[in-house]
């Protein structure tokens, strides 16, 4: 029997229906709302966007998100890669990997709470409950208010938490890719005269490039949307504000739908290039297959 032209459309209708009403329509509506005032009654043009690009806290958020991208992505990907390659030579590989992956199993809010204890600060006279300050006082150093020293140390401390959570995830994906490299290739390189270091740079890294790119873009998308860690640990105070937390505040605390939507649209626009890169990579791989 010949397949009628309408048949493929019938198959995608349910998915298309769901996608349209739960993804396409809300997105378009968000763009629409972003041109209106706080309760969506008065058209205000690009005023909300002007606010986003002129308000000091918003600019601060952009700076912090940039800092997150610049530090978090290279740290998670490179640590994940190094651990993936090194752990392959360890006898108790699966145990080590499980431990490093474990933070992934903890909710981000939970992780935030754990790290709040790590960074906990009390005046020098009191007993230190935070491990970092406990260590500092053990070495006769003044305790530091880690999450308050702005703008670099506290942001850096937050980024560390993110890295702690996500490195395991990067490691697992990169490790799978590393194990996919035929051992014969590495042996061939060894016989060809390469040191282990050269093998890493000249063979392993180029062969893992597609996976590294996917992990890096995924981590970038992740970090552009970073919210929970900041929300739980500092709530964006002390110059640690990030775009997503700002969006949340505008929406649910200040009830300014227009501004919140504008921020959402900006976030979406920032993420789109990453998605395009990922799709292109995916297509290239499909083409090779």
């Amino acid at each position: 029997m010949r397949t009628k032209k309408i048949t493929p459309w019938l198959y995608i209708t349910p998915a298309a229906f769901l996608l349209f009403f739960f993804l396409v329509y809300p997105s378009i509506n968000t763009v629409y709302i972003s041109f209106f005032n706080y309760n969506s009654e008065k058209f205000v043009g690009i005023k909300n966007y002007l606010y986003c690009f002129s308000n000091e806290i918003m600019l601060n958020s952009f700076r912090n998100n940039t800092l997150w991208v610049v530090l978090f992505v290279p740290l998670t990907v490179s640590l994940g890669l190094i651990i993936a390659v090194l752990v392959d030579r360890v006898k108790y590989e699966s145990i080590v990997k499980s431990i490093i992956f474990m933070p992934m199993a903890i909710s981000f809010v939970g992780a935030g709470v754990i790290w709040k204890f790590v960074y906990a600060y009390r005046p020098a006279s009191a007993a230190q409950t935070g491990i970092l300050n406990a260590l500092r006082s053990f070495f006769q150093l003044e305790p530091l208010p880690w999450l308050i020293i702005r703008p670099w140390l506290n942001n850096f401390c937050l980024i560390i938490v993110g890295v702690w959570i996500w490195t395991g995830f990067c490691m697992v994906i990169l490790s799978a890719s590393y194990k996919g490299i035929p051992r014969e290739l590495l042996e061939a390189a060894r016989v060809d005269g390469a040191t282990e270091f050269k093998i890493f740079w000249k063979i392993i890294l180029p062969l893992m490039k597609p996976t590294i790119a996917v992990v890096a873009t995924t981590m970038t998308i992740n970090v552009l949307k970073v919210f929970d860690i900041v929300y739980v640990m500092t709530n964006g105070n002390f110059n640690t504000e990030v775009i997503a937390n700002r969006m949340y505040k505008e929406m649910f605390i200040f009830r300014n739908y227009g501004r919140a939507s504008a921020i959402a649209v900006i976030l979406l626009v920032l993420i789109i290039p990453m998605i395009i890169i990922n799709i292109q990579r995916f297509r290239e791989q499909e083409a090779i297959r």
Partner: protein, 366 residues
Amino acid sequence: MANVILKNFTKKFKDVTAVDNVNLEIKDKEFAVLVGPSGCGKTTTLRAIAGLEEVTSGEIYIGDRLVNDVQPKDRDIAMVFQNYALYPHMDVYNNMAFGLKLRKFPKKEIDQRVQEAAEILGIENLLDRKPKQLSGGQRQRVAVGRAIVRKPKVFLFDEPLSNLDAKLRVAMRAEISKLHRRLEATIIYVTHDQVEAMTMANRIFIMNDGRLQQSGSPLEVYKKPANKFVAGFIGSPAMNFIDSKIIKENGDYFIDAESFKVKLPQSFYSKISAYEGKEVIFGVRPEDIHDKKFFSEASPSNTLKVKVDVIEPLGAEVFIYLACGKHSLIGKMDTRTQVEVEQNMEVVVDMEKTHIFDPKTLLTIV
């Protein structure tokens, strides 16, 4: 160029002994083939020579230098892997140049060597292609090219032809032989294919169960197998083995296999006299079983009455599966042989070329 010596080489993987106390000496410029069934330890031996496996005990020398603790890169060897192991992200040129670049050769010399190797192998027009764009045979050539640009002391080949189709394999076999003559290098070649071993080697090392069974020139191991395993492994189709007894009648020795009785040649007598009345294994190569009509030395004492089971005509020769009482035999016969399945026929065994093995030690008696 160099010789390669293994002294009491043993390799264990945990409790499993892969190679057990192997001694072998491969001479300079020799084409040595390690052959044996899968799991016989031949690849492990090769990898140990390459430095990719640690030596459990024993010594490995390359060109008089003990290399047990020498890194693969410092052993001055090149290896061609079974699956070629070409670097997929590099083009053919860089695949071949990689080893030279690592050794910091001047660019001009790298260029020259790669060109030279490419010419020898007929792949000059493929230098800018990626391995993915090459056929199996072309990849094979690149893998060989990558080895020869380095001009190492010893070439190691690990079943390099096993992934090629039958026709290409025959062609590459001849090419590698030619290459050996041209390079005048020591080559150690691992294969499970006894035809490859026979056609290419100066010297064959036959391994089984991690032990070296015999070494020698191809004809030596064919004509004078050291034991039943070698006799059965070398030659195609494999040698026929028949459990039988040696008996003495009227001063002559016979093989008595119940379903047939054949007289042994006088030249055997000195070696078999001790086995009189004892069980032995009688071995006949298929090519030494002839149709009575086309063999001049037929006599009642070397002729068997058999029934034809299966006929496999190959054009230049014909394999005939024969039933002789409870025994079954394969004969490689003259194409003029005119028989049908289920038909009875008479075949003659060329007794001078037969073998007799001790059933306990499996060693060759004659």
